[in-house]
Amino acid sequence: MKPDKLLHPTDKGLYCPPGDFYIDPVRPVGRALITHGHADHARAGHAHVMATRETLDIMAIRYGDNFAGATQEAMLGETVTINGVTVSFHPAGHVLGSAQIAVEMDGTRIVASGDYKRRADPTCAGFEVVPCDVFITEATFGLPVFIHPDDGDEIARLLDSVARFPERAHLVGAYALGKAQRVIALIRQAGYAETIFIHGAMDKLCTYYQGQGVDLGPLAPATIDKGAKDQFAGTIIVGPPSAFADKWARRFPDPVACFASGWMRVRQRAKQRGVELPLILSDHSDWNELTQTIRDTGASEVWVTHGREEALVRWCELSQIRAKPLNLVGYEDEAE
């Protein structure tokens, strides 16, 4: 079967006509298959949602228990048939519960990978290569300038700075789902055992991760006792990046603004945000991982979505792999 008869972009998202379902739809639909819990992929209001248990839980935390008419848990590696289309979920290594979705009919298999990364992450299952005919890849960091350094080295820079400036507070900007927990888990892996303070917006998700067996060590809310500004000297505080420009940040003594993001590889990005200690930590694949993954899947055709599509399409051309940009709308390609 021709691949674009099996899946093709519509204004509501990627649609499978024979199965009559959407993958990560951006508007309410009848049946949605969802790769992971980030808000641009997982929206509320669908009649029926199929996703991993963790993704369903995360959606319930964010949108409330009535986020969908009905839900169906997808077990990793198991196949289900929806209107004659075979569907299976496989770990994507992006955040807790994230999955790639393989869709197969009449001998044609397409893998919609959602967002993914290849390196080890203590907070979620590692990416699994699913051989396919068409691989749909993200391209958030789809430029050869994006080569993420070793996670351990980045965390070591943070801990070194904490040790060097005991009178200052280190504010680490990290998105609330996935990045925040990964940063905390990596800090724990590096041997830091002190209490880590978190912004209120991260509380529920951190608690959820811990309930799922992810060891985040001692956490406490970053609330201040009146007049005790120095209580945060020498500590690490994790909060959403947007909070740093807010009044919230004023409670901390001479804070060092850190931001954990793949964008921090580009100086100008760090400068624009006023980041003093950029930490290059990404939950997306870097250029090497993207191109390696395309090869690993053995796909003869690649569809590229949200990000720097043109560069990855160019790379495919040079590598004699057929490729096209998917032009899906509604996904964040800058937020990380």
Binding site: P144, V145, H148, D150, V266, Q292
Partner: protein, 527 residues
């Protein structure tokens, strides 16, 4: 050269996309540069089509950064001997790079750079590329660099300043001297910079401790303080920090046919009826910060020097002479110079400090910012010694304006709306509108900053990125008393005026916005 180097290794189209995204050539190259002993996934155009891609499809069970396997997609470059001779990444000191580049021929350059790029990590590559292209910009003043050098070598900063302009890259003799292993570098260059003497601000109370009879007064002209030096056929125009700004003023440079060094104010103005009539600061701005200056601009805004002091005349260093003596020498000296390019800063007679206080607010020309008071017997010493010279500035202009927009600050102030755009009223009296006239981000206390920030947050109407517009209506808004040093006509601003050195002097919580000033008030100040 750099682009050609990188395009030998990286597909030019991919490089182009990357450059568009990153926006800086050196940074793009530093990030994209593929090294041959790490994972290098970039198809090089050289090998395109010949390689079997599947061959390289190693498993990614381990993080790619630990994968050691070389990539067949990048042709390994022949190793230059250098690495074996100690060119490995442990020997890439700044000194090595500078010396090697200086010794090498033009054609060797690219191969050397290539080798270094291979050996360095991305920040190292970035620094290297910025250094060799002359694009290294570090945000410190040259004065701070000089002070750091002085501290490092245990010298006085004036010593550094005096020999600054005779120094040559890579400053080996300077560092040998500072490190105590070499003699002081001789300032062999003709027309060196002489460190400038500056004045302390004063008021009537402060001046009351001194005898007015000991002091001579002259106007403080509001141009650019310069030192113009011509010696042995070399002419130089220095800013007060010792930057050579000769290139911006070729008209003045051409008239510097003398042996000596004058301290004065650079202004623009036309020679009419035997005297130079100084233009406004706005006129002077037409000549500032330009790398090249057209004949038309030179004719329309001719530069001249209003002389304050004479530091050197022929072989005589006059700096140890008393001011009175130097002034007499200056008067005779200036009389020999072209009168359309040089004139004397006139003295202002006075009896009492009160008279000085009154005179400073009634200058004979708008391009005067107050009075200078110099002790008759003061020698010319670098820096800002207390006592010999005072500046007594005119009072600033004040207006009441209405806060219109606020922008978040940087660094410590990044959670505060600390940059304020303010406007004054214009239009019909029964239907007034605000027009922005300036922006200020200091002048208030920390406590006032908190109050301002709160006002902004509580009265936001719209947000544009880091900027908020706030309520500014005839009966609701915040009036700011703004102090400023002068006013220029400006075609760039909607209001047609631009303030010099505006700052917030008071928060007028008590004043209804409608009672703030009108644009006509400012226009009247333009004269």
């Amino acid at each position: 050269m750099i682009r050609a180097l990188v395009e030998e290794r990286v597909d030019p189209v991919l490089f182009g996309y990357s450059y568009d995204f990153v926006g800086d050539l050196a940074e793009t190259v530093s990030l994209i540069w593929p090294v041959d002993d790490g994972p290098s996934p970039l198809p090089s155009p050289r090998t395109r089509g010949e390689g079997d891609l599947a061959k390289n499809a190693t498993s990614l069970a381990v993080a790619p950064s630990v994968a050691k396997k070389g990539s067949p997609l990048v042709t390994p470059l022949p190793r230059l001997q250098g690495r074996d001779e100690g060119w490995g990444q442990h020997d890439l000191s700044l000194a090595t790079i500078v010396e090697t580049l200086q010794r090498s021929s033009r054609s060797d350059g690219p191969r050397l750079v290539e080798r270094w790029l291979d050996a360095l990590d991305p920040p190292g590559r970035y620094a290297l590329l910025k250094l060799i292209t002359g694009g290294m910009r570090v945000g410190v003043s040259s004065r701070l660099v000089k002070q750091a050098l002085a501290d490092f070598g245990g010298k006085d900063v004036t010593e550094i300043e005096e020999l600054w302009h005779g120094l040559e890259i890579p400053y080996t003799d300077l560092f040998a001297w500072l490190g105590g292993t070499g003699p002081k570098p001789e300032s062999a260059a003709a027309a060196p910079f002489r460190p400038v003497m500056l004045a302390n601000p004063a008021d009537v109370e402060e001046l009351g401790r001194y005898d007015p009879a000991d002091y001579i007064a002259e106007w403080k002209w509001d141009g650019i303080r310069v030192q113009v030096t011509a010696e042995r056929g070399v002419g130089r125009i220095y800013s007060r920090t010792g930057d050579d700004i000769s290139k911006s003023f070729p008209d003045l440079l051409a008239a510097m046919d003398f042996e000596g060094s004058i301290d004065g104010e650079l202004l623009v103005g036309h020679f009419e009826n035997g005297a130079i009539r100084a233009g406004t600061f706005g006129d002077l701005q037409q000549r500032l910060n330009r790398k090249t200056v057209s004949a038309k601009q030179q004719a329309k805004f001719p530069a001249f020097v209003r002389a304050y002091d004479l530091l050197q005349q022929g072989a005589d260093d006059l700096r140890t002479e008393p001011f009175e003596t130097r002034r007499a020498r200056l008067e005779a000296f200036v009389a020999t110079l072209p009168p359309d390019r040089f004139d004397l800063s006139p003295l202002v007679a006075f009896e009492t400090w009160d008279a000085v206080a009154a005179r400073r607010n009634a200058p004979p020309a708008p391009i005067i910012e107050g009075l200078m008071l110099k002790h008759r017997r003061s020698t010319y010493v670098p820096g800002r010694p207390k006592g010999p010279w005072f500046k007594f500035k005119r009072d600033p202009f004040l207006i009441d304006a209405v806060l219109m927009y606020a922008q978040r600050g940087h660094g410590k102030r990044s959670s505060f709306y600390s940059d304020y755009t303010f406007g004054v009223w214009t239009g019909e009296a029964d239907d007034p509108a605000l027009v922005p006239v300036g922006k200020a981000y200091f002048g208030f206390t920390d406590e006032e900053l908190k109050q301002l920030d709160k006002f902004v947050r509580d009265n936001t109407i719209e947000r544009f990125g880091p900027v908020r517009s706030v309520r500014a209506e005839p009966d609701h808004g915040l009036v700011l008393e703004v102090a400023f040093e002068g006013l220029n006509r400006s075609a760039r601003h909607k209001s047609g005026v631009a303030m010099r050195f505006p700052r917030i002097s008071r928060l007028r919580w008590d004043k209804p916005p409608l009672e703030a000033d009108r644009l006509e008030t400012l226009e009247a100040m333009l004269g």
